[in-house]
Structures are given as structure tokens and as C-alpha cells.
Subunit: 416 residues, 2 copies
Amino acid sequence: MAAPGENLRINGARLWESIHEIAKIGPGVAGGSNRQTLTDEDAEGRALFQSWCEAAGLEMGVDAMGTMFATRAGTDPEALPVFIGSHLDTQPTGGRYDGVLGVLGGLEVVRTLNDLGIKTKHPIIVANWTNEEGTRFAPAMVASGVFAGAIDQDWAYGRTDAKGLRFGDELERIGWKGPEAVGARKIHAYFELHIEQGPILEAEGKDIGVVTHGQGTYWTQLTLTGVAAHTGSTPMPMRKNAGLGMARILQLVDEIAWSHAPDAVGAAGHIDVFPNSRNVIPGKVVFTVDFRSPDLAVLQDMEKRLYEGAQKIADEMGLGLELENVNRFDPVTFDAGCVKAIRDAAERLGYSHRDIISGAGHDACWINRVAPTAMVMCPCVGGLSHNEAEEISQEWAAAGADVLFHAVIETAGIVE
Amino acid sequence: MAAPGENLRINGARLWESIHEIAKIGPGVAGGSNRQTLTDEDAEGRALFQSWCEAAGLEMGVDAMGTMFATRAGTDPEALPVFIGSHLDTQPTGGRYDGVLGVLGGLEVVRTLNDLGIKTKHPIIVANWTNEEGTRFAPAMVASGVFAGAIDQDWAYGRTDAKGLRFGDELERIGWKGPEAVGARKIHAYFELHIEQGPILEAEGKDIGVVTHGQGTYWTQLTLTGVAAHTGSTPMPMRKNAGLGMARILQLVDEIAWSHAPDAVGAAGHIDVFPNSRNVIPGKVVFTVDFRSPDLAVLQDMEKRLYEGAQKIADEMGLGLELENVNRFDPVTFDAGCVKAIRDAAERLGYSHRDIISGAGHDACWINRVAPTAMVMCPCVGGLSHNEAEEISQEWAAAGADVLFHAVIETAGIVE
């Protein structure tokens, strides 16, 4: 057959079981997962995934950033592999599906091919990218960024967590620094399945999001410096309150984001106050502003207005201000051919679908620089993610993996 | 003689040396001290103070809240003791003088009496109150509060620090839970020497502040609850951003404080954001608002406007709000006789002085409820305190201790 048949489906129950099996590693406190990158829990999750890959007959390779590549051979020794990737690391208060669905969805594609005895012309590789979340070590999507040549590997190794531990040291400590040169593998096409992490698909009752673009993300870390002083005995006119400066800048961030409604968004998720004592006026606040938009000009305008507005607020209040770009990711347009493969698969399988822009960053956004790439999304309840209450249904997961399966085998070529 | 002679002075060099000796215990990172209550460093500081008291021939008693009472006997077995007290615990980023000057100033009074062979009718007691700062265990001034009958001892024991450790357990662990019932000691008069922790005395070139009143302090802990969600994929209208709610309430706090200029002040020194990750909209923020005023009606108005305004902001933003009083300390008027003894001593010694309102809370504010009480203040550089850069001069410390010495011996009665 030239195209895969409509009757071919992945095993939704098996996929669901694997998702909930790995969720037991690094369990959260409220039903989710806390399996942050390069922790002991990350290592344990990797080992479980490795054992599943071995059971499925895949060959594991690991690169110097710790990314895992599990290969199912193709029939044509000259054909480049089709990749399916995402990540197994989580937020500190992560859900069970963010990232995990994409990696185990890839594994389910391979398991289904094995069940059906289907051979493909191109090899298929399931990838687990290291440190997609970026919450322990900034920036996010660092291993795929190094793979795509956008981030320097030594710089990535030197990133430190809140305790001052280095990324490179922690990667060695958990035993997942591999021998492969990062970015050496060539890619025929790259597919990633992910939960939407937003409310649109569920609200519109769509099974599948066909991701055509990725929002750009600009992260600015601000350090406001005032004077730590006694809250009681320092008259109001003599204060240099870095906490109040942070409050004014947060309002500015909100105003800037709304001014570019409806697509742009902005907020600060990370705020550290020093010395953080009830009777000391904050002498320093370090916080990170996250702006996103699918439009590069809008992103640049938002960043410019933040820089100017924050400086004006700092000057008015007598505060010191340092601004640092900790992540600047331009908007992404995915490959038309890969996008079409996903849209066609959804259509063929009878799933309702719509085109969608990804609000979050994904490893696919980096890989898009070096290979034809696209993404499949499935809904999540209430649009909630980066929250232990993140939830999807088994049917949504199965529909997403079915579409992934069909897009992959169409691209990899079934050998009759 | 009926009144002490003008020629009697404390030993300013010895006082200065002791202050800098104890500062070596729990050294800060920037020249100050980090000797938080009921830590190992607190225990080490207590032991050093005890050894100095023993060397000065004082008898040490310890109560069940860990407060240390070092007694120099008087000649009249019926006469109640004159107390000199303050605290040896510090902020996490504390200076060398906040509290320490008052305790070691008291020790210096006793050392000087010993040098000069002066006996007093009333005993003199130097007290080190446990947990004045309240930064590890809220509220501040807890041991003097229990002593004055304003705070319940078992409730104080049950207070927990950020790690969940209980005050009572930590007091036992460091070995300073004493046998004395708290508040059992009767007091003839209580004096406390303290740095101003504000900029007024230095700005006006005054040697001495004669403290007539203490500002009242109301602390409200606010817990704002939104929904933790992905910063990228959650459209602006669907967010429940607890961090933005906190920012708006901080601006309200500032407006409320300015509306009662010049005496009232307000700020939040403590702000914890959850989960505090760069790409998660804050689902929860816990922060504490500190309002102060010497006028009870003003304090009550500020608290009322905070409660109403914060609720309005939370309602508008769809956030949950919990409000908890973690400290409510009404304004204090010190004893006219003790205040006069301090003012007369400054006058007699030729030190420039002015009456002043204490902006900070002090143990003296609680003890004022159960005994005639007043305070002496000396300037500090730039008004800085609760900051490792806190600084005073040896001359300022000596002048403050001289005035303390004269007020104490006039009150305790020199035996000729």
C-alpha cells in the first residue's frame, strides 16, 4: 500500500499504562511529578525508558548532552532516520503528560510497528532531550538547542542551579553523559506530540491541534537593587524599596502584554526577594519576565518597552537595575510538508482538528532549524500545565499518538 | 552623694571590644552577623555572654523561654531589681549593633560599677531576651511578650520556622530552656539602650534619643491563590496570576502608608512565590505587610484599608485571599519617670539630645506593660539597620552607654 490504512491504530491502553508507570518516579505532592533534570529521579526515569526501549528491540545511543536516541532500524541503509522526540524531565510541580506523552508516544509508535510486523524504509528514532524545562538550569530546551547549533555546549555545561551545582557536573554525576558528539546525527524529519498546555482545543472540542507555528519567547532577568533597611524606622521618603520596584514593573509587564492582545502574553513566574524577612525592606529582588508572541516585531517591541519602562521606574525610585537576556527564542514556522503529513493523518483517521500556534517552547522549535519539523497537539483539561493538576484523557492521548503514528509511517515509508 | 557625679563614665573601649568579639560568632557575609535565634550560633553567643557575666561576678538565671537574667546584688534585700535588657539574636543579614549594644551596654554598666566599687540599693539585672527579631520564628519580641503576659507560652513553643522546626524543640536542642517560670521576676524599672535604626539622630547631629513612645506595628500575612499554569500557552484573559495580585496589593500598601505621612510607614519584606519557576504563572504568593504608626487610630485605618483593598483586588482578579494577623502591637507610651531619668542623664553629661519615637518594636515595648520602662537611642550611619552594613561609631556607643549608666544608677540608688 502507498499510504497507511485507516485501520492501523496504536495501543492506547498500553500507552496510558506506561505514562502512569513512569509517573511513579519522582512523584509530586498532588498527583503530578517532580522529576527535574539531572536529579536522581531523572536518572531513574531514564533507566526505565531505556529498559522499555531494549524490550522493544531498539538500540540506544546517548550524546554528550545526555540526550537519549533509541533507534529502530530501517530497510534502506542510505535513508536518514525519522525522529520522534520530547522530554522526560518535569517542572518542580509538573504534571504527568508534559513531555512524557511525546517520548512514550514515540515508544508506542515503535511498539505498534513491532506488533504489526511493519518495516519502514527510514529508521525511526525516539529521542528524550535533556533539560527541556529549564527550571533547574536555565535556559529551557538546552540540549536540543546545542544539537541545533544554537547554544554553545561548554556554556550549557557551565550553567548552575540554585545551589550552585553545574549542569556538566550533574550530568556526569547521574551517569548520563554519553560519548556521541552533539548534533552529529542527521535527520530526515522530526515529529513531536505534546499536550497543548493551553485551553483552546478543549474549549473548541477538537481532538487534534496541527501546529503550524511556535510562539517566540523572550526571557529577561531583572535585578533591582535598593537598600535593605528596617521596615519600622525608615521614613517613607528615605526608602529604596526593591520590592515595590518589582511590583511596579510587574504591572508594566501586564500592561505591555495586553497592549498586544490577543496573541501576546507576559508574566513573571520567578521572583526572589532578599533578604526576605518580614521587617526588612527588600534590598534586592531578582525576577524573570517571560514575553511570548508569534510575531517577531511584537516580541521586540515588548522587550524594548520593558527595558525602557523598567529603567524609568528604577530611576524614579533610586534603584539599581540590571537586565539580562536569559533566553531569546524567535517565533518558528514549521515545515509545510511535515505539517501536511499531520493534518492529512488527522483527516484520514477522522479526528476533528484545527491549526494552532504553540504558546510554549518545545524541542521541536530548535530542531526546526536543522530538519523538517512539525508538532501534533492534544487537548488538556482547563488548559492547565506546569501544575500537578494537569490532566488529559486516555482517548485524547491515543488520538494524538494515532496521528503521530500515521504521520511518522507515511514519512518513514512502509516497506511492503 | 544623692545623684551620680558628672565625672562617672563607662569604658567605651571595653564596650566596643566586646561588641566586636561577639560579632565573630555567626559572622555575616558582608561584615555583619547572622546569629538567628535558637541556632547553634545563638547558643555560642549566649555562652560567651554567660562567661563574661560570670567574670563580672553576676549570677545567671534562665527562664523557660530561654531568656537570660544576670544579677548584680543590691544592698537592700527588699528592693526590686532595675533591669537593663535587649537581645543577642540577629536578622539573617543583621548588623553588629542591633540588640547587642543594649545587652553589652548593660554588661558595661555592671563592669563600670565593679571598677568603681559602687554598690546600689536595688539589684541590677542584665537581660538577654530570646527571639527579639522574629525572622526565624514569628512573631518578634516573643520572649518579652510571654514575660509580659501578652503572648501564650505554649503557642510560642508551637511556632515553626521555614523548615517546620518548632520553637520549643529548638530551644531545648540548643540547651537554653531554663527552669524559671516566665514572668515570675518583679521589676523596679526597665531600661533599654538601642541604635535608632533610623536616620533622624544622625541627620540632626544629636548624640542621644530620649524615647518617649514606640510605634505600633500591625503585621498581616496574605495568601493569594490563583492557578499555576504555563506562561506561554495560557491566554491573558484566562489567567489567575497570584504574582500580579501581589504586585497590585504592594502598590496599595504604599499608597496607604503615604496617605498617613509623615509618621506612618508600610511595606512587605517577606514575599514567597510558588512554584517560583520562570515559565509557570504563580499559583500562590504568601507575603507579609508591615504597617507602623505611633497613632492607634491610624494603624487601625491602615489595616482596614488593606483588608478591604486586598479583597477587592483578589475579587477582580479571580484570586483566593486569606488574611492572617501574625503580629498586632499597639503603640506604646513609656514611663514619664524613666524617660525623665534618661533625659536628665543626657543633660547632666552634656550630650545633645532630642525626644524621639521608636519606629521599630523592642522588648521594652512589651515590658512597659508590667514595669516602668524607657529607652535610650544612639544614632546609626544612614539610618541603616537589618543590613550587614549597619554602622555606629565608638563614641556614639559610649555616649549611649553613659546615659544608660547614669539613668540606671540614679534609679537603682548609689549606697554611700
